[in-house]
Amino acid sequence: MEIFDSLVVIFASAIRLGVPLILACIAGLWSERSGVVDIGLEGKMLTGAFAAAVVATFTGSAWAGLLAGVTASVAVSLIHGYASIDQRANQIVSGTAINMVADGMTALIGNAIWSQGGRTPQLPDSALFQPISLPFEAALAPVPILGPIYSHLISHHDLITYFAFAIAPLTYWALYSTRFGLRLRAVGENPAAVDTAGLSVRGLRYGAVMICGVLVGLSGVYLSLAQAAYFQPHMSAGKGFIALAALVFAKWRPWPALATCLLFGFLDALSIRMQGAVIPGLGEVPVQAIQALPYVMTVVLLAGFIGKAIPPKASGVPYVKER
């Protein structure tokens, strides 16, 4: 029973740690499926987290914070879009620039306003996205096995978490069952064909980049208004890059993306839980080994030793319309 309880605790924390990954990963999926490579997820997440915390601090409203976080992230996405789509820039360079500017700018402005080394003031509960209790939580609580699972894993999460879990099937449906999705996938594989069909490559890619901005902005909002109650410099702590790894690991597909992000979230939860723990027969497992596992797994997959991760064919390639 003790093992079961600690498993529930680990899984619950895996969900909490997985949510920002899911949102950022699916965000990257939209962008990259349209042919725009995005290594700037980290910077946009940070921007979203910062804008959300600042506006929530001044207005006291979580929803105003959410709107600000998403708007800021979309604005940054549009810069990346302008560089990648209109200026035909190297998309890796553009993403790198966004990561640097976001990292410096959020800390700089936060420090200039509150003089707390870039940290924003602690937000009251009313300015945060609080866990919501689904019906029958209290009634089911005493039931063994089912009770803890329902109250810790299924119920008692905030709205952004539920949205994150809905976004994978939604994305799957949009990409594979709608006309927009078909065109978007086509533009990432063979933009010339889409152009020949009389559709705007530019319009489709801008659309994808903006969807990406909304989703990754939400992951930032989650960091500052749900997981924590403030913004802190560098608080995304590489989550944007883990999401990128998850995207590669999931081979740019929505359902595997959801599963991979939960797996990486689980590994993160495990590494926190395993600090100093001794496994019989193995001795102390170094926390760093578990932390490095997502990256190692992604490299091994990329190397083609377990299946092959093939990116969308036109990703990273600016489209030049023939004249």
Partner: protein, 368 residues
Amino acid sequence: MSAPHKPLPGWADVALIPLINVAAAFIISGLVVLAIGENPIEAVKLLVGGALGNLEGIGFTLYYATSFIFTGLAVALCFHAGLFNIGVDGQAYIAGLGAALVGLYLPLPGYSQAIVAILAAALFGAAFAAIPGYLQAKRDSHIVITTIMFNYIASALMGYLLVNVLRRPRQMNPETQTFPHGGTIPQLHELLKPFGVEWPVTPLNLSFFLSLIAAFVVWLLIWRTRLGYEIRAVGVNPTAAVYGGVSPARITIVSTLLSGALAGGLAVNVILGEEHRLVLEFTAGFGFVGIAVALMGRAHPVGIVLAAILFGVLYQGGAELAFDKPKISRDMIVVIQGLVVLFAGALEHMFRRPVAALLARRVSQPPI
């Protein structure tokens, strides 16, 4: 969309456009300073004064510049082969391990200690870069993604080694003991003392001259050797290079090896030149500064040295500035760095069209 770019006169291409791009980055940085309620002109004065106003400032500026020359060269070398090595930071981190292992466990006579430590740093950096290079060349794994992953793998590996294996006994900080066998690189103030020259105590060390030699060697390699020609050929057009008898796979591996070895220069400067022990996260993101330096210097060693000195001024002056004006924290330098990457890298062609149009108009006007 019309033809991407009208041809520009050579001077505009080499000097004017890069200057406009960097100026745009600095103008926006000035607006940011203005927005947080400080005076940008005063800030520039404090910054430049702190970096170049006295010998101590200059010493620190050149010490930082040394690191940036090495990382800038590392990034630029891969640029020439058409590769984007984002892993310079991780490669330099692992290079530090190589230098430290020699410093801790391999006593050697006299100067050979330092030389072997430098070689070990280059070797470890190259070996760590070789894995993504090999995977790109032979398994077609995108080097951008793998080098990002390798940065985190390096960070986890070094964290483990420093906390659990190499840490000095009875010491909480994750750092090794000071290298017992010497083998460190002499600092300038020590070298100048016998000649009666009083140079203030700064971390500036002989690595600075090593970095200048490295810049010259990279120039020789890229523009004066057969290998350099092959590297550029693969960078411009891998398919055409194959017809010329060049193997892109071989060039990819060789370029990443050399790039990783150059990244090791950061470890040489910081670990052997200043710290004299291995410390956690000593690379401090300087591998990423290399990206800005390489882009700003247009991947040419002369440009890289100049850009590295500019970034040295920013890092040293920025520290002084943050001391005088707490509102302009050191994060400002990261913002400037990012804006330089944005304007000199991602948006490098943004001003090209208007400038071309402007120049064309002036040329086409008939002389009266």
